[in-house]
């Protein structure tokens, strides 16, 4: 009797895809150690020069800037997404639930370009916010919001909101409500119940959401490119610039490798640092 029918048929296409992906990543790795020949798409011999060049202030700053941007975005997204996820899971009205769900989830399916473009109209010098501020007499002339880190963060928070809301809501919906009822019956007020029961129990969702938001922001390209307008340099915009303006693919490849290593390291550190919090959640 055959124990594993069709095993070869099931696995070999996936094996081919995995081979393709591995080859692509190996190509990036291999190019990161090649010499750049200006004006040519061909590359020279093996070198570690690309990695040494990354220590220059311009590139070191881009790395630092990107990580800072990712942290700020993930933190603001968490603060804004939590109340929304809480309302989504806890509301008794199904109309409110549907409305929050559609409003929060639709942007996920719109793609980075549409969402970034809409923020350009909101933040521009003749845009919605500046017109509003001038009309209300709060400022005399438009405030520069495009091409600033603040503008990039506002748009990135909006881009990462849906996935954060989904992950937080998934975590919140699995909390046993009886724990909260028990606390309440023992005389705890709503704020105390929230801080000592609900918040610790939702820690796994918070950690998952925060790491995902971090990784997404690290991968974001259209938003820092269009809203930053070259004045907010991140790893992604530098890689594109190096690849398509100066055709320096070896250096773009080495930036990708270091960027990937760095984002993986930060996510692993986050997991490690929040492990006590998760253990707290599973203990209660």
């Amino acid at each position: 009797m055959i124990k594993r029918p069709f095993l070869g048929w099931f696995v070999s296409p996936a094996g081919l895809a995995a081979l393709g992906l591995t080859a692509a990543m190996a190509a990036v790795f291999q190019f990161s150690m090649r010499t750049y020949i200006p004006g040519s798409l061909d590359v020279g011999g093996f070198t570690l020069q690309n990695f040494a060049a990354m220590l220059r202030p311009l590139y070191a700053f881009a790395f630092w800037n990107t990580i800072l941007l990712c942290f700020e975005t993930a933190a603001f997204t968490l603060i804004l997404a939590f109340p929304l996820a809480y309302a989504l899971v806890r509301t008794r009205s199904s109309a409110v639930r549907s409305f929050i769900l559609i409003a929060a989830v639709t942007p996920l399916f719109l793609g980075e370009v549409v969402r970034t473009y809409s923020w350009m109209i909101v933040l521009g010098n003749n845009g919605f916010l500046n017109t509003l501020l001038v009309k209300l007499g709060l400022v005399e002339r438009p405030v520069q919001m495009m091409f600033t880190a603040g503008g990039v963060i506002a748009a990135l928070v909006h881009v990462t909101m849906p996935i954060m809301v989904i992950m937080l809501a998934a975590g919140l919906s699995h909390i046993d409500r009886n724990c909260e009822k028990a606390a309440e019956s023992l005389g705890a007020g709503p704020i105390r119940v929230f801080l000592t029961i609900t918040l610790p129990l939702s820690m796994p969702g918070i950690v998952a959401g925060f790491s995902t938001a971090f990784a997404w922001t690290f991968s974001a390209f259209a938003t820092p490119q269009l809203i930053g307008g070259g004045r907010v340099s991140t790893v992604s915009t530098l890689i594109y610039q190096l690849g398509f303006s100066s055709f320096n693919f070896p250096f773009a490849a080495s930036l990708s490798i270091i960027g990937l290593a760095l984002s993986l390291a930060v996510i692993a550190l986050l997991k490690q640092a929040t492990r006590p919090l998760e253990r707290l959640a599973s203990a209660t």
Binding site: V28, I102, S219, F249
Partner: protein
Amino acid sequence: MKRSPANIALRWSGRILVSAILLFVLLPGIVVAVTAFNDRAILAFPPQAWSLRWFWRAFSYSDFGRGFWNGLTVTLWASSIALVIGAAFAIAIHRYNFVLKSLLEGILLSPLIIPHYTIGLGVLILASQAGTGRGFPLVILTHVLLVLPFVMRSTFISLENLDSRLELAASSLGATPGRILLTVTIPLLLPGLLSGWLFAAILSFNEFTATLFVSSQATQTLPVAMYNYVREFADPTLAALSVIYIAVTALLLSFANAFLGLGKILNVDAH
């Protein structure tokens, strides 16, 4: 909860907070919708006069039309290929043990954390070394790799919920493995396969960063065409296109919510 004044105040401040956050989420969409009907070519707010001409321009601008059809071609091929590869592999992972199983699974799930520009760059370098041009196969290959994790996950969830006794019953009645697969397993998995395909198709149609690296003028998809437009022109054409995009997506999602229950798909329903 007790109806003390403090609790009522708390409840109302919660409602105001949630409304304010919803406003932040919806604001760009509202602003884009108003801008799309602005008659003037400058992006200014609020519009002085109203017109539909940016919608006509969005439909008549040839790059958008070509981008739409290119995107549709890439999406249909990529999500269908990914469905076949991903579903078959998910079944193999779920049922069997084999050499290199977890390695293969890890590699295929890695596009979830590897930035899209890194994958795009890798495929581009690979293609330039192999001497193949930046044609449709290259874009489709990239998209297959990017959406595979989602198809795999969706199939895997359906497999977890599948009653394997039905397959045992078919087997005990003398059905061959091939017949069981075609008449029992695949029909039972169909909802999961379809939602995985749909999710992959939506993600592929909207993919931008990796596509920017691997596509050329001839193969650029709609998001790439839109990105190029926004760098060249500053008129509200893109706002008109965004409005169509938002309306179609919200409509599709409302249908999905009404008929399938979006909460169930996204696993956020309260117990």
